[in-house]
């Protein structure tokens, strides 16, 4: 565990989302609770999930969308905005997932 990497980030300088997300706590489920059909993403013109998923779970790479469920905060946005209905969305089971404390 490196301390430098994990030092609390102050609000002063612009931060990467992944650093902001360091303040959150998850108990990550073994299975993904969200499944994305990448085939449908190919025909999605604007890819709103990339901008609107607040946890940045959708990343546009050279070969298209890459989704990772681990940092999901279970808001439901992607399910609502996906124009191609490419997303099979569920809540994690067994109490897993995001653990909010001060919200």
């Amino acid at each position: 565990m490196s301390s430098a990497q994990n030092v609390e980030k102050k609000e002063e300088k612009p931060m990467k989302l992944e650093d902001i997300l360091q303040s959150d706590i998850w108990n990550v489920d073994e299975d993904p609770h969200i499944i994305v059909d990448y085939n449908k993403c190919k025909n999605c013109p604007n890819k709103p999930c990339v901008y609107l998923c607040p946890a940045g779970c959708y990343v546009l790479s050279d070969n298209g969308i890459v989704f990772s469920y681990e940092g999901c905060v279970e808001c439901g946005t992607c399910r609502v905005i996906c124009p191609m209905e490419a997303i099979t969305w569920n809540y994690p089971k067994s109490g897993k997932g995001i653990f909010y404390r001060f919200t």
Partner: protein, 282 residues
């Protein structure tokens, strides 16, 4: 089979955060969870019960908040749970912890019924010594197998344990009672079930033992029974990471891309070539 499974209630975060002003750990609101590496142990115990019948008892030495973790395990299907908790156990190192756990297993054996197997996780995420299984086995003088992936009963008091190492798979015949530590990737734990949670709330299948029940010499427990001394702690400097995301078409594409990317990096390519020369033969 009566199986005891060890559980440690640990802070549920892998990234310990440090307050920049005070330099101390931020613990506020950090919830605890069942040590994730204990999950395969619990799953193995439950699968053995599914196959051979009997009961699974979860055991932890911990302050009372760990009850939430025991509730989780009962939610998975563990039959009952024992919390061993007392002020005199506080500050225990692995020696003192394993001593109390061994005595608790003896007590279960005597008062609840014969214990056939005790299963522990590979290690914890907050201390990761991986001592507890082996030390508990030593106190009890039971055989011990580490890195277990599967267990089969081969006759009434013998099991066949498969352990998976980096470059070998070994099968061991072990006489019961025995202690086993599971490999952290051995099995995927089952989810919590509604009906088991209702059972927990209705029946409260939970026993607490204090040192009044355990009757251990306080000199052998807690801080007093712990010879470990932390001489010094060092901060490991941050390793800068590139954080590149690549979505491969298939496994081959992934491998090709990875090797190409590593070879393009001067440092990485040197290390890679060195490693291939030295260890490639294995």
């Amino acid at each position: 089979m009566r199986i005891v499974v060890g559980m440690k209630w640990v802070p549920g975060t892998t990234s310990v955060r440090i307050d920049p002003k005070t330099g101390t750990l931020i613990r506020e609101g950090v919830p605890s969870i069942v040590n994730p590496h204990d999950m395969p142990a619990v799953e193995l115990a439950l699968q053995l019960k599914d196959t051979y019948g009997g009961e699974v008892i979860a055991l932890t030495m911990s302050p009372p908040p760990a009850i939430r973790g025991l509730e989780y395990l009962i939610g998975m299907g563990v039959d009952r749970a024992i919390l061993v908790s007392d002020r005199v156990y506080a500050g225990a190192d692995t020696l003192a912890t394993s001593y109390v756990l061994a005595k608790a297993i003896e007590k279960i054996d005597k008062e609840i019924g014969k214990v056939d197997l005790a299963i522990f996780g590979q290690e914890t995420i907050d201390s990761s010594t991986a001592h507890i299984g082996a030390q508990t086995a030593s106190w009890l003088d039971w055989p011990y197998i580490y890195y277990a992936h599967s267990v089969k009963l081969i006759d009434n008091n013998k099991v066949l344990v498969e352990r998976v190492l980096e470059n070998a798979i070994e099968d061991w015949e072990v006489e019961l009672p025995a202690i086993i530590s599971t490999h952290m990737k051995a099995l995927k734990p089952r989810p919590v079930r509604l009906i088991n949670k209702i059972r927990y709330k209705v029946e409260k299948p939970l026993i607490t033992w204090t040192n009044n029940d355990m009757k251990l010499d306080p000199r052998c427990t807690g801080l007093k029974g712990s010879p470990t001394i932390v001489a010094k702690t060092v901060d490991v400097p941050e390793v800068p990471r590139k954080k590149v995301v690549y979505k491969p078409k298939d496994g081959e594409d992934a491998a090709k891309w990875l090797i190409k990317t590593l070879m393009e990096d001067e440092k990485a390519s040197k290390a890679l070539i060195k490693a291939l020369k030295e260890g490639g033969a294995k």
